[in-house]
């Protein structure tokens, strides 16, 4: 039943997309209103399936001959459906207001429902063919929206890199399914589960899946497209790309590695943990250096993906060593972070979009003081920044806390590589958490606080009601998720049980609604009590102060040690705020170049200061690779200008060679 409703939603999305081609009444409001309603149905389907804990499957007479189209919603799909359609609902709500500002709506509207449909379809696919087809559709639909503002050369480049990386990722997934299907070629997921691959094939499949799903999710060093493509799209689609589509990448990884491959060697976990830890730190270090608000958010997505992969890697390692309860803890932490990140990252992209429309500026260097002009947006942004910085009592802290608890049980792992790597990754995670807080202090402080740095920022106007409704809905989820995390952990129960064979203790019955992942004597956390304590002590302090202290208050000019300078440029800017971090980590991580051109005394020319930061992935990976491909294709270019005789000879030689290969293989 559920899967039919899900597929019906997908069909409805396609209908909405087709209707946009008929101009007239089917404009912005129709598309976003209808998409939001359909996504709401999808959300209900996902949530009820998650609560019911049963699977619902169907085989349609579509797709490859002899295979058919398998579709299924089990607990794992249901959880990710919930996350993705929640994102779809709030994004559509936000776009009802925000989408009106779009200069070229027909470059976004037809693709938006298709993008949502494709993501839903990936989650429901139950055979490799349907999976890859919808995966590619998802990539192409999102690529089309990334190119919505294609006249900007930077966006065109972003679109090109995204297309190359997405195709590369799909290729890796295709090969992974090929390896998993084995010689019989059972491409239905049931057939793959029934015939577990040999250890070597399993290892190869995990590697390929790490490349394929990792490139979609943004795992270092496959992340290079992400900070280019995510900010290039219109902001509500950026929220979908960053908050939601990366989660489809996570889903592919969990589906293939946890579900289809089955048991795997401990070193798989080690690899995933290491990559995750590096991703988290690299992502946040780059985030803190950015001056473009949306790019900062995109790099922060890379960081959060790293955190999620650390959790997944720990779960793999624990499962390989038969520590089901610890695997359940790590997997719960990772999946809870999937949900939390979808919530607060969408929220923050919404804020970025609102700020962008209000000021017309991308760069934080030209913002400031927006808390006075956009007070409601500022409140929503503050909640989002607090949540993503893992501050109690908000939701980001809960998943981070569970992750640290999972790390603390890992000395019981017997594997030596893991014993040495896990504490190092724990240190990396702690570093990433601290830097993330700094990064969002900067993002909020430079954008919303201080004095306006440009006339546009001085004249900004509060955003519309739809956008604010979407932002406040997500802010409320951030608070509820932080205060009552036990409810969300219990929801994940059936899913974690299915994937690790174990589950966290049930949280619902605990006193005061605290969460206890292992045992009460080991660790417990209670967001509700912390919030109550904060409110109690805050109000007590305020009452005492207002009772005993004078209330005399005077408004006056800024003091600033007696020398206040009127120009807003004398404030700390985005790049100056990041300067200490740049200095501390610069040499080691960034390959930093600071070029200072200071005119001497008496010279009249203007001075300049430039900072150049190059991603090591470009410097050591993609740059040389692109140059190599260029050189080789230049050499091969000669093949285009041969005579017909030479071509025939070449074809003949190639045929002989291939026949020889086949003969040797037999």
């Amino acid at each position: 039943m559920a899967v039919f409703v899900g597929l019906g939603c997908v069909a409805a999305f396609f209908v909405v997309s087709a209707l946009t081609l008929v101009r007239g009444p089917f404009g912005t409001t129709f598309v976003y209103g209808a998409s939001g309603a359909i996504a709401l149905v999808g959300l209900v389907v996902g949530a009820t399936q998650l609560l019911a804990g049963t699977a619902s499957a169907v085989i349609l007479p579509l797709g490859l001959a002899g295979l058919g189209g398998h579709f299924r919603i089990d607990a794992l799909s249901a959880f990710f459906l919930t996350v993705i359609d929640l994102g779809g609902v709030v994004t559509s709500l936000y776009a009802l207001g925000y989408g009106r500002h779009e200069a070229a709506p027909m470059r976004v509207l037809p693709y938006y429902p298709v993008f949502l449909a494709a993501m839903n379809l990936v989650l429901m696919a139950d055979d490799a063919f349907a999976f890859l087809l919808s995966w590619e559709l998802m990539s192409l639909a999102s690529w089309a929206i990334v190119l919505a503002h294609h006249r900007d050369p930077a966006n065109a480049r972003a679109g090109y890199i995204y297309l190359v990386m997405a195709s590369f990722g799909t290729l890796a997934l295709l090969l992974a399914f090929g390896v998993l299907a084995g010689q019989q070629g059972g491409y239905a997921f049931d057939a793959i589960r029934a015939a577990p691959p040999l250890p070597l094939a399993a290892a190869l499949a995990v590697l390929l899946c790490l490349i394929g799903a990792g490139s979609k999710a943004g795992l270092v060093p496959l992340h290079v497209w992400l900070p280019l493509a995510h900010p290039a799209a219109p902001s509500h689609v950026s929220a979908l790309l960053s908050g939601v589509m990366t989660k489809v990448g996570i889903y592919a990884f969990v589906r293939i590695v946890f579900d289809l491959v089955g048991a795997s060697a401990p070193w798989n976990g080690l690899l995933v943990i290491t990559l995750g830890g590096i991703t988290a730190v690299i992502g946040v270090l780059y985030a803190i250096l950015q001056n473009d608000l949306k790019r900062l958010l995109a790099y922060s997505t890379v960081e959060n993906i790293g955190i999620i992969f650390v959790g997944l890697g720990l779960a793999l390692a624990f499962r390989a060593n038969n520590m089901g309860w610890a695997a359940a803890l790590a997997l719960t932490a990772a999946l809870l972070h999937v949900f939390n990140h979808a919530v607060f990252k969408s929220l923050l992209f919404f804020v970025a979009g609102a700020v962008l429309t209000a000021t017309g500026e991308n760069s934080m260097e030209r913002m400031g003081g927006l808390i006075h002009r956009m007070p409601r947006t500022a409140v929503a942004c503050l909640v989002g920044c607090g949540a993503i910085s893992a501050l109690p009592p908000l939701n980001g802290f809960v998943s981070e806390w569970l992750m640290f608890q999972a790390i603390l049980v890992s000395p019981q792992l017997p594997h030596w590589g893991l014993k040495l790597m896990v504490p190092a990754v724990g240190a990396l995670l702690a570093l990433a958490a601290a830097l993330a807080a700094g990064c969002f202090i900067k993002a909020f402080g430079i954008t919303f606080l201080g004095r306006p740095r440009s006339p546009a920022a001085r004249e900004a106007r509060e955003t519309d009601g739809f956008s604010l409704a979407a932002m406040f809905a997500l802010s409320a989820l951030c608070v509820v998720g932080g205060v009552l995390p036990g409810f969300f952990i219990d929801l994940l129960g059936p899913l974690v049980q299915a994937l690790t064979g174990d589950v966290l203790p049930r949280q619902a019955g605990l006193a005061w609604m605290s969460i206890v992942p292992i045992a009460e004597s080991r660790s417990s956390y209670n967001g509700l009590i912390i919030l109550a304590f904060l409110i109690f002590s805050g109000t007590t302090t305020a009452i005492v102060i207002h009772r005993f202290a004078t209330r005399a208050t005077r408004r006056s000019a800024i003091w600033d040690c007696g020398f206040p300078l009127a120009a807003p440029q004398t404030q700390y800017s985005s790049s100056s705020f990041a300067m200490p971090i740049r200095r501390v980590f610069g040499g080691a991580v960034f390959g930093l170049h600071e070029i200072v051109d200071m005119p001497g005394p008496g010279e009249m020319r203007t001075g300049s200061f430039r900072v150049r930061v190059i991603d090591p992935a470009w410097r050591f990976g993609y740059g040389p690779l692109a140059r190599y491909v260029g050189t080789v294709s230049l050499r091969l270019n000669r093949l285009q200008f041969l005579t017909i005789r030479s071509y025939l000879t070449l074809v003949f030689c190639a045929l002989i060679l291939l026949l020889l290969v086949v003969a040797a293989w037999r």
Partner: protein
């Protein structure tokens, strides 16, 4: 009835940390002054300072937002909650389980988040420099702190502070390399977090080296009083943390009889007094560092804590 007593004991701890905080600050200042051959202000001076500030007019900049006005109360509240959750004179108080050591560190992070934003609110160069440097220090100190938490938690097998203290008192944990490294790291982190020499100078003003004072430069009147009280409270929190984790002896662990509680209270106050005397001795014997030397100082703390965690992952015996 038992509930009321429990609630009272928890309330007593909350009041205790707030009430002794200015006194502890007064003691460190007095000892420091004596070491510098000055007479120094009386030990009760911080109380009078706070009282005086409370009765001064608060001056706000024209463009100060609500964040600027709310932040002091929020910072104080978050620090106070964190301080009230560190066991002082007895373990297993009523709410001791509501936040563990990791949550405690994160609560301090929440307070710092608010403080850094308050520094940037008015839009001055000094506020920005303070916030920016605070973020840099925090980005090095917080990971070190988390690793200290890991060390202690791996030795005790729990992250609950109350349970850690009980374990260290009752079980024979003994002298351990890892705990020694963690103590060293905690002292370094505590110095950095409380803006003491050699990282920051609490007595300085109008210097380009200041961090904490730069962030709160614009504050005055009752707001400044609350911020100063929060800073004093944070110092007591770190003292309590050192006392609770590394010298928990004397704390009332079992039945909460009057005798056990009195012993716990006496030993707690004695420990805090000793730490309040030791801190200025350390401060007067070193010089303030340049800003870009901080990573070396805090990197040392980080390395020590990381080494402790690695040792514990290799063998529980360290």
């Amino acid at each position: 009835m038992a509930m009321i007593v429990e609630l009272g004991l928890q309330g007593l701890q909350m009041l205790l940390v707030v009430l002794i905080a200015p006194l502890v600050l007064g003691i460190t200042r007095k000892v420091k002054a004596r070491l510098l051959r000055r007479i120094g202000p009386p030990v009760l001076q911080p109380y009078r300072d706070i009282w005086k500030l409370m009765h001064k007019e608060a001056v706000l900049a024209h463009n100060a937002s609500w964040i600027y006005r709310v932040a002091p109360y929020f910072i104080f509240a978050a620090t106070w909650v964190a301080a009230a959750l560190v066991p002082t004179y007895a373990t297993a108080l009523l709410f001791s389980w509501s936040a563990d050591l990791i949550a405690l560190v994160a609560l301090l992070g929440t307070a710092r988040f608010a403080l850094a934003l308050a520094g940037m609110d008015v839009g001055t160069a000094f506020g920005g420099i303070g916030s920016s440097r605070e973020v840099m220090i925090a980005s090095l100190a917080e990971p070190a702190m988390i690793l200290i938490v890991f060390t202690v938690a791996l030795v005790a097998g729990t992250t609950q502070l109350s349970a850690i203290a009980t374990t260290f008192i009752t079980a024979s944990v003994g002298l351990r390399v890892s705990l020694g490294l963690a103590l060293f790291a905690l002292i370094c982190v505590g110095i950095a977090e409380n803006a003491r020499i050699p990282i920051d100078n609490p007595a300085t003003h109008l210097e380009l080296t200041m961090v904490h004072e730069a962030m709160v430069l614009e504050y005055s009147g009752r707001h400044l009083a609350v911020i100063e009280a929060a800073a004093a409270l944070k110092l007591v929190l770190y003292f309590s943390l050192v006392a609770c984790l590394f010298v928990p002896f004397g704390m009332a662990t079992g039945e909460k009889t009057v005798g056990a509680l009195a012993l716990g209270m006496g030993s707690y106050l004695a420990k805090i007094f000793v730490l309040a005397v030791l801190l200025p001795i350390g401060e007067t014997s070193v010089a303030k560092m340049r800003v870009f030397r901080y990573p070396i100082f805090l990197g040392g703390a980080f390395a020590a804590a990381a080494l402790a965690v690695f040792l514990l992952f290799v063998s529980r015996g360290f």
